[in-house]
């Protein structure tokens, strides 16, 4: 966990520098078989799956609440929110702490990958997906040239870039 926190913190310090260079940093993670990414700047911390207290009568994508250093934090099952199939939690399940207005939410993902630095040319806008794209998909990241696997022209990595504001908006007073 501390390693992951270190990634976030160190990356956070670099954000401004990277943005000046026309690059943006994203944290990649897995939901089921798909690779997603959120802007690194919105992620406060990465946690291991803590003990969850189930909240009856909450929205279906609310997994429950957890205590993060004494703060009651709502956990959201991202898979459920993205209408992906349900899977059991594994040892690599992680919670991404994200600030949303006056509260901090925990987003559950199956596995944290790494930090991706994407230049503008490596980001496709969501419009390539047509109207099918959900409102919270910002675009598609193609960490191309820099990260082409050694094998050559094997399947290139694709990151579904999520807009944290649109993603979490429904959990306001909805």
């Amino acid at each position: 966990m501390s390693g992951e926190r270190a990634i976030v913190r160190a990356a956070g310090e670099r954000v401004s520098r990277v943005e000046e260079a026309g690059m943006r940093e994203f944290l990649g993670f897995m939901l089921g078989e798909e690779t997603y990414a959120l802007p690194l700047s919105c992620i406060r911390e990465i946690l291991r799956m803590p003990a969850v207290a189930e909240v009856p009568r909450a929205a279906p994508d609310v997994l429950g609440i957890v205590s993060v250093r004494g703060q009651v934090t709502t956990l959201i099952d991202l898979r459920q929110r993205m209408s992906l199939p349900k899977l059991p939690f594994g040892p690599r399940t992680r919670v991404l702490l994200v600030d949303q207005g006056d509260e901090t939410l925990g987003l559950l993902c199956d596995r944290v990958l790494s930090v991706y630095r994407l230049s503008e040319t490596e980001v496709e806008l969501a419009t390539v997906l047509g109207n099918e794209a959900s409102s919270y998909v910002m675009g598609i990241g193609r960490p191309g040239a820099r990260r082409v696997p050694r094998g050559g022209a094997v399947a290139q990595e694709i990151l579904i870039l999520l807009d944290p504001i649109a993603l979490l908006k429904r959990h306001g007073h909805g």
């Binding site: 207290a53 609310v62 609440i65 509260e103 306001g172």
Partner: protein
């Protein structure tokens, strides 16, 4: 401090609040001043100032600080003129504003001192502040604005009159000094007097008085112009035995010739002013003026409630440490060195005791007397009654009852709605009351008292009461409830319809005898605080609303229990008893389960079903078979009782309750969560909401529909 009375406490609160306001005024004024210097005028700053002074005026009036109120009043008028552009914001105007704010500070300093020693000449200050307005209004003669009788003005030389006018225009105060000088030393005495006064004032004129005097003495009357305060003047006068009075601003700009008589009090009314002077040690006045601005006025510290919440959280965490420590000590007693174990046991007990003291201390800091709230209510009652042309007598008892500050704050809106409604809709006009044989003056009674760990507030009026027939009719008309449902409702349930959102906002029911706007707000706010609202009403006799609230939300004793493998907590304050469920005694009435308990019927609620818990909690092994409900927790909320069926009781513990985030604000039946110390959160059930939903299911179902 600990022994301070309630009124002292309210006074301290006021002083602290006023102090804060005045500090805000200073800041705003400085900003305004700076803006002027740089030629950037921000009208908002002026508006902020105006609002600040306005609030201070209201507060002063409420707490009976008459002098503060008067100064606020003139400052407010002036600021209003400035704001509206009726008056130019000139440097002298700013100066006087600063002087006014400084006056507030000194008045507050006076108020903080034990007895009525005052260093501020409020009249002079007020007139100087009010004076800007006049000075700026160019076209008319300022002399007409002051209580200067024609026979005085008549004897002024042209130069003296010019000086007088200029001084008034510049916002100086004019004092009249009447002093008796012995004839044999009159020359030296006058010289001395002139010397003393010259340093802080300009002597416009002096003339022998027609009145008073004696064989060997003569009364001299002087007109002094000064920026100094009256007390400074008195200091300068030293031992000289004079009567000093401010030349007042004329009210309503009456013709000077008509006010000649009104001047009498100025010349003949020396006694009261002398009395004031006698009370005022000159030394105090001088010293006070020198260093007052930097000194704090009260030893009250205003603390952001969130800091106390944080502290309370820490105390709560310590409580869990204490519990763990206790368990450890018990283990040691069995296995380890006996002497060491008993030493550890002793330390754990000392720790526990001190922790309890800290907890109590933090809780005590949060407590405020309800009178703080009731005072505000009283203002509203007066206002509404006046607006409605109704006569209402307000009777307040139990204002000394203390509640958590947070609760007092949250109570403000509901209380306001209730009294407003009581007067608006409940109280009849005097003639109608008379024809009904009721006393012409209606009575609104507020009574508060502590009942265990709860505070009860009763608000009753002797108005016309709520006619349930009209409620029924209105509910159907508004489409809130169907004919069928309404006809099934008991009288109590019908009264509760008043709390439904759709009902209270319906404009069509404002003619309804009884409550109108905002009762749903009342209910929502009180329920959110873990409280309950009960309503009793008799047509023609009156209405009584009873609010029951926990004394504090910060920390509470809770009963832990299990339902289908989940641990939950319930505040002990609402629990009457917990007992084994005698399965054989459960009956159903109209499909609802009830328990006959000692000859009384207790409705039951199976919590597992209520919360729609699956049979197996997250992460639990399959083998955790469904357990049966073996226990009943009997809860009482207001005057309603309900038995909660649970699987197992799991002990009692002090908990710090934490709210769920905004994302879960819609969840009904859960009031928060608590950390039991093992990093695992336990939900705290909201007994009031469960009782509400279970017992008044039909109406709250409608309520939920109304909300969505």
């Amino acid at each position: 401090m600990g022994s301070s009375t309630q009124s002292d406490k309210a006074r301290e609160e006021f002083l602290a609040e006023a102090q804060e306001l005045v500090e805000g005024l200073s800041r705003d004024l400085l900003m305004l001043d700076e803006g002027e210097r740089r030629g950037q005028r921000n009208p908002e700053t002026l508006n902020d100032l105006f609002r600040g002074v306005h609030t201070l005026k209201g507060l002063s009036g409420m707490f009976g600080f008459e002098r503060l109120g008067r100064l606020s009043h003139v400052l407010e008028d002036t600021l209003e003129d400035l704001r509206m552009g009726r008056l130019e914001l000139s440097q002298p105007a700013l100066d006087v504003l600063f002087e006014g704010v400084e006056g507030f500070q000194r008045l507050l300093a006076d108020a903080a001192r034990p007895e009525g020693t005052s260093t501020v000449d409020i009249d002079a200050l007020a007139s100087r502040v009010g004076g800007i307005a006049r000075a700026e209004a160019a076209e008319h003669d300022v002399l007409r604005d002051y209580e200067l009788e024609p026979n005085v003005l008549g004897v002024l030389t042209e130069y003296e009159e010019h000086r007088l006018r200029t001084n008034l225009e510049q916002g100086f105060s004019i004092y009249r000094l009447r002093i008796r000088l012995a004839l044999d030393v009159i020359d030296t005495a006058l010289d001395q007097l002139r010397e003393r006064l010259k340093s802080i004032s300009e002597i416009i004129t002096y003339l022998p008085s027609m009145e008073g005097g004696s064989v060997d003495a003569i009364d001299i009357e002087m007109l002094l112009s000064t920026r100094a305060t009256e007390s400074d003047l008195r200091t300068a006068l030293g031992r000289a035995d004079g009567v000093l009075s401010l030349v007042q601003k004329r009210r309503g700009g009456a013709d000077p010739s008509l006010t000649a008589q009104s001047l009498r009090p100025v010349t003949t009314g020396g006694q009261p002013i002398e009395a004031t002077k006698a009370q005022l040690p000159e030394r105090v006045a001088a010293e006070a003026g020198a260093d007052m601005s930097l000194r704090s006025l009260t030893n009250v510290v205003r603390v952001d409630i969130r800091k106390l919440d944080y502290l309370m959280n820490v105390v709560g965490e310590l409580g869990t440490v204490r519990a763990a420590l206790g368990r450890l000590v018990e283990k040691m007693r069995v296995s380890a060195d006996h002497a060491l174990a008993s030493e550890a046991h002793r330390l754990a007990r000392v720790f526990g005791r001190h922790l309890a003291e800290v907890q109590e201390g933090v809780l005590d800091i949060r407590m405020v007397p309800l009178s703080q709230l009731f005072d505000k209510v009283a203002v509203i009652v007066r206002q509404v009654a006046r607006d409605q042309h109704k006569e209402v007598r307000l009777l307040i008892t139990g204002g000394e009852t203390e509640v958590d500050k947070l609760i007092a704050e949250e109570l403000a809106d509901p209380m306001m709605h209730i009294v407003r409604n009581a007067i608006d809709h409940g109280v009849e006009v005097a003639e109608q009351r008379a024809s009904l044989g009721k006393p012409a003056v209606a009575t609104l009674a507020i009574n508060a008292y502590q009942k265990g760990s709860h505070v009860v507030i009763e608000l009753s009026d002797d108005g016309r009461g709520i006619d349930t027939d009209l409620v029924r009719e209105a509910a159907i008309r508004k489409g809130l409830l169907s004919d069928q449902v309404v006809s099934d409702l008991s009288r109590e349930e019908l009264l509760n319809v008043v709390f439904m959102p759709g009902f209270s906002t319906a404009s069509a029911v404002t003619d309804l005898s009884g409550r109108g706007v905002g009762m749903d707000v009342v209910k929502t706010n009180i329920t959110r605080l873990g409280g309950a609202v009960d309503l009793e009403s008799d047509v023609g006799v009156g209405t009584k609303i009873t609010i029951t609230l926990p004394i504090t939300l910060a920390i509470m004793s809770a009963l832990l229990f299990e339902v289908r493998g989940r641990v939950l907590a319930i505040p002990l304050a609402v629990v009457q008893e917990a007992l084994r469920l005698p399965a054989a005694a459960v009956r159903t009435i109209e499909g609802r389960e009830v328990l006959s308990l000692r000859g009384a019927t207790l409705p039951l609620c199976r919590l597992g079903d209520f919360f729609r818990f699956s049979r197996r909690p997250i992460g639990a092994p399959e083998s955790t078979a469904a357990t049966e409900e073996h226990f009943v927790i009997v809860v009482a909320v207001g005057n309603r009782r309900l038995g909660l069926c649970v699987d197992r009781l799991a002990g009692q513990q002090d908990i710090v309750i934490k709210g769920l985030g905004r994302s879960l604000s819609q969840v009904q039946g859960i009031s928060g969560a608590t950390d039991l110390g093992d990093q695992r959160l336990v939900l705290v059930v909201d007994a009031a909401a469960i009782v509400e939903e279970t017992l008044l299911g039909r109406t709250s179902h409608m309520l939920a529909r109304g909300l969505s």
